[in-house]
Assembly symmetry: C2
Homo-oligomer: 335 residues x 2
């Protein structure tokens, strides 16, 4: 096989088949994908299905803690998981720049296969397009996924209620600051690394502890601030955060302070927030803390009795600060 | 709203929401999409599901007969339809270049909404990424789709059998030659236009005529030659085509002859081939010819009794010519 991707790899002919066999099927191969139908044919035995899509354009493609392939699988698995669904099947569609290294492509595909296996999803359909040099930056990946929505679970960003406790599963801003440092060649600061991870097993643990959790959302682009503002809007509630309780790694704190950034607005790829009725919050928190991806889980705030859609922060010096929807340019191509 | 896409439209904050509300929801809006969940939540009442994905990178974005948006909906609807499924739900994920015209984006989104409505699918989830100027060529779109596989239908590219009649629903090479002429500014030749169309209603008509059709495939990248070679391989059969019977528009014939190309290898976006047992071929053909997308349907060949995987053409001068898998660079970015 050639060392780099050529336009003929995207032409639907012999070279396309060679790439599919020697790279994609080699790592992704399973009983369904191997049939190479126009559409995967799946047997299902449930009535509520979750369906989601995300494209990934992260730059750089490889970073401390992951790469675009790992991110692409985790992102879609997480969108399904935080909808109260068991992720089952995903598709992967590649847009690759002519001249891209096949060795790098293999590394990316291996990471995808690895995350898919760990999170229990099958990659059942795919697509490959190649565009001329200079018309795409390296490689973009789309993943779409479907999952079975659990019975008796009703997670929805409109379900937050007064008194709900807001829990996150760990430190904020790790992914975004890792990408920013990598892109600006700031060098690696301490053990700064992306939190990129599939959260479906953590969500399972949380729902086993209490199946009635009101809202779960992963906090990606726009950080926890964007997600909390969306929940505040859709549920028509006010959310108060405690600055003292926000978990931020010292490496992230250092860089954000230096650059004048706020970890609340920095992207995560392995973090979620959950809105849990106060009566069950401690039980859910304890269960999370026993899970490898929730060791640093903590309560960061609650839904107040105030009227109106708002998110604010009770600061360490005793003031209040509005946490509004992020506006303007955040760091582009974070995911 | 600004006239062009900025990086902030992809940041997950206020401007992203504005774009979603003022462009995407404006045209795509439906009861499911409007809930704006991380994953669409769908009620389903069937057990066999088809799932597919495709990314679209066509250049130019607008061409005679369609645009990238129409293509993106038709392509995924067709992949479901030719799997013997009723297309139900699709996702749409955009990767847009900073500086792209919002007016053009709206035209593309309108076309998608239009095709979705006509073909009876709902767009239920989406994603938008913006990348810096020069890192993507205008706009790329991914669509993924799910559908309900019809009961008692078993369409599979491994199902072609000796004696099967090969039917196509109309002229070959229209899409590819339209794109080539547009890209090379050859000017429009006669009524040369893309055949881009959703074929699900035609497939329904065919299956009503005879539910036991062995294979249906749409003939996109690599043309009918690529598809027939794949079917020959997966079904382990020999396929003989009759050159006299190949339907090719005179405009396409003219340009392909001038450029030394073969319509068998040119992409279509509204053409399919079906493998039907001889006993039912006439019935299926007649039904197709009564459908607006099958007026020019015709028999182009059959599966012979010969042993081995091969596709060949009985030429008008009485010879035989091998129709092998396309190799090397075809026209890139045809879809």
């Amino acid at each position: 096989m050639n060392d780099t991707i050529t336009l003929s790899h995207g032409s639907g002919g012999l070279q396309s088949n060679k790439l599919i066999n020697e790279v994609f099927l080699k790592y992704f191969g399973n009983d369904i994908l191997n049939q190479m139908n126009d559409a995967a044919q799946l047997e299902i035995d449930f009535k509520k299905l979750a369906f989601t899509t995300d494209s990934f354009v992260v730059n750089p493609l490889f970073f401390n803690g992951g790469n675009i392939g790992k991110l692409a699988v985790c992102g879609t698995v997480n969108d399904l998981a935080v909808s109260g669904a068991k992720p089952l099947y995903i598709t992967s569609a590649f847009i690759i720049e002519e001249g891209f290294s096949i060795k790098k492509l293999e590394q990316i595909v291996m990471s995808m296969a690895n995350e898919a296996r760990k999170s229990g999803v099958k990659i059942v359909a795919g697509d490959t397009k190649v565009v001329e040099r200079g018309n795409v930056d390296g490689i973009f990946i789309n993943t779409s996924g479907i999952g079975r929505i659990y019975e008796n679970v009703n997670i929805n960003c409109a379900n937050a209620r007064e008194g709900d406790i807001v829990i996150v599963n760990g430190t904020l801003g790790d992914h975004g600051m890792t990408i920013m440092c990598a892109r600006n060649k700031l060098g690696l600061v301490g053990d700064l690394r992306s939190d990129c991870a599939c959260l479906n097993s953590l969500v399972d643990t949380m729902l086993e502890a209490y199946g009635g959790i009101h809202v779960i959302r992963d906090a990606t682009r726009g950080g926890i601030a964007a997600v909390l503002n969306e929940i505040s809007e859709f549920s028509n509630v006010t959310i108060a955060l405690e600055e003292n309780n926000l978990p931020v790694k010292k490496e992230v704190k250092g860089v954000t302070e230096m650059l004048g950034l706020d970890p609340l607005y920095i992207a995560n790829e392995g973090k979620l927030c959950a809105f849990v009725p106060e009566s069950h919050a401690q039980k859910v928190l304890s269960a999370m803390q026993k899970h490898p991806l929730g060791v640093n889980a903590t309560i960061i705030g609650k839904v107040t009795e105030e009227i109106g859609q708002m998110v604010y922060l009770n600061t360490v010096v005793g003031g209040k600060r509005l946490v509004d929807m992020p506006s303007g340019i955040q760091l582009p191509r974070i995911c």
